[in-house]
Symmetry: C2
Subunit: 387 residues, 2 copies
């Protein structure tokens, strides 16, 4: 096991009715900006619950955060915060709203051009405190320091991470997810699943507990993911998926081990170029990464096949790997995601743009061994186009 530092001070309020806890979770003397996306929280009652809990607070509104949140939109929120002396933010939504909020609270106090936070890793000295009301389990953003911001004018989708943007608290009420479109629910399951895979499916690292925690999340997502499509109103199924998605990326399972993240890095560029959902890109790229790196990942792929998919122990290693990849594709397809680019009518002639973006963003040595070069990424993308 490698040395590590683990720190996660986000307080989680989990369960039905917990949105009411906002009243005491947000200090009474704060000027509060509620940041959200489109109007879905106004239709499903969540917005009213939030306002009701904050009825004794001075609240302000900022809406319009997009999926794959846009830099320009974030900067409008920053201006609103500065003009109105906002000193606490509540993000109400899914990963996009929370990611945007992280950037906004960091940019609000930033001296200089906040774009440098994303492109140059500029130091964040101070950030506004914020909490979350999660309505879409998927990205884990509610309990980590990560954020990804897009800037369409430049075809860019860039990450940053900083301890100063830990949510102070996150409220996870599984009932807020009942009204999600099934595509978003399924995408969330796939997203969380691939987050775990990126941290787990590497090579044996003498860290058996991290392996078993990862396998436990994967198994639970498979079982509950299939159930949620059949029984969308089952509270416990919703609750289990929500808790899985948070623990998939609150950094616990990655401690002491090297992670991969190649699928995400390539996937981000597919979203930037073609506008595919984040989960769609993961479902397409991951099986190809598994196949392309099947030799270096062989031991972990076999373990994954046996423990997560109950592969027959008597199969050969290659058979186990083929079985694991086939089961993974089948699971993604059950969750409504295609596993080849062609299914989304992608213009094949534009694939080189993905490579250009990877190069521009210096994504030239990906994976747990940093041995996935641009040429390798090209092959992975080609394998991902069609059967």
């Amino acid at each position: 096991m490698q040395n590590f530092e683990y720190y996660n001070p986000t307080r989680i309020y989990f369960g039905t009715g917990e949105i009411a806890k906002l009243e005491n979770a947000v200090p009474k003397d704060k000027r509060v900006l509620i940041i959200y996306g489109g109007g879905s929280i106004k239709n499903n009652g969540v917005y009213d619950e939030v306002l009701s809990a904050l009825s004794n607070h001075d609240t302000h509104d900022f809406s319009g955060i997009e999926p794959n949140p846009e830099y320009e939109t974030c900067m409008k929120a920053v201006k609103y915060i500065q003009a109105n002396n906002i000193d606490f933010v509540v993000a109400v939504g899914g990963g996009s709203v929370i990611d945007a909020t992280k950037f906004i609270v960091a940019a609000a106090y930033f001296e200089g051009e906040p774009w440098d936070i994303l492109t140059k890793g500029a130091e964040i000295k101070k950030a506004l405190p914020f909490g979350c009301v999660l309505t879409l389990p998927a990205t884990g953003s509610e309990m980590n320091i990560n954020s990804v911001i897009s800037r369409r004018e430049f075809n860019k989708k860039l990450p940053f991470a900083n301890e100063k943007v830990f949510p102070q608290f996150s409220i996870l009420d599984p009932e807020t997810t009942y009204t999600l479109p099934s595509r978003q629910v399924a995408n969330g399951v796939v997203d969380a699943f691939v987050h775990v895979i990126e941290q787990y499916l590497t090579y044996p690292q003498d860290a058996p507990l991290q392996d078993r925690f990862a396998e436990g999340i994967l198994q639970t997502l498979i079982e509950e993911g299939e159930k949620v499509l059949a029984k969308p109103d089952d509270y416990n199924v919703r609750a289990n998926i929500m808790w899985c998605a948070t623990l998939a990326l609150n950094t616990l399972i990655s401690k002491g081990v090297k992670s991969d993240w190649a699928t995400h890095m390539i996937g981000h560029e597919l979203t930037a170029i073609f506008g595919l959902d984040h989960a769609q890109t993961l479902a397409i790229i991951l099986p190809s990464v598994m196949n392309y790196k099947r030799d270096k990942k062989a031991k972990k792929l076999s373990q994954y096949a046996e423990r997560v998919w109950q592969a027959d122990k008597n199969l050969s290693q290659d058979e186990k790997i083929d079985f694991a990849i086939a089961k993974t594709r089948q699971f993604f397809e059950t969750m409504g995601n295609h596993t080849y680019l062609k299914a989304y009518d992608i213009d094949q002639s534009k694939l080189p743009l993905v490579l250009e973006n990877l190069q521009d963003n210096n994504m030239v040595s990906l994976g747990e061994h940093q041995d996935i070069t641009l040429e390798d990424s090209q092959k992975i993308i080609e394998m991902s186009y069609d059967h």
Copy 2:
């Protein structure tokens, strides 16, 4: 799944050489009290590592914390802190030293009789900040808010828990455990194992992820526990046990589910009356609790038998339960712990004192259903005396 709140802000520094991080983890302007137990940290080099990391700090010493830390000893440390204007504490040791430190940092600012913290749940308004250097993986105290303090003059061993006594940080260097006596290593494995069982082995609660995390810790402790006796100098084995013991009781696996803790409550009184090691009492009581509550725990016992001990799925439920109990006893015995009181030459005529203590401490409705009465505890203790 039940509603829950999860919060754990302790920063973990994990790995070889991490004790050097003390230098920056403790604010430079603090007057620091180093609290420890006997002389073992002076013999194995840990004390020197701590002093070296804190060479630019104003440090003071308080030694002599006992196993099952004693109230009177803690109060001596409180007096030292008050007399010397100590404003930061570093606990160096195992669960006893850390538990003692939690009580000491709470008592240091307490107005009135600190014994009331333990007997009356008196409010703790403020506590000194502290960090830990863990040298004995077992109790999980390094990443939670729990503490158990003994007062031998009254035959009492009482717990308290308060968010104000979260360690600010804990340093976990597996190499500090190389010089532990094998009995303490084995006891630590048993202790962590039973911590997990108390949170897991109840009844199905629609919380599959919590189950799989618990099973993952149990399986890892079984595998690594057997290895550590054979290969005491294997760094990864030590590291895996250390991380398991912390995660066994940092409260994560108990979130959203009801826990048992009957074995611990009865075990504490066996330590108070007979002076048995904490782990020894758990290894004795747990198999009897499993057997006595085999009907109400049947589903979880079967799941435990299948998933943790690979019981044949074709066995009957009763056979699976017998198998699980036998495997548990066998594991404890492999780890050097007897599973019957008689093996420790306990005076059988004194067993009623255990019941008296349970009654005095109001431990009259134990277990996840709070249905273990004093009469039930009496039967469990009788079953635990001999085959």
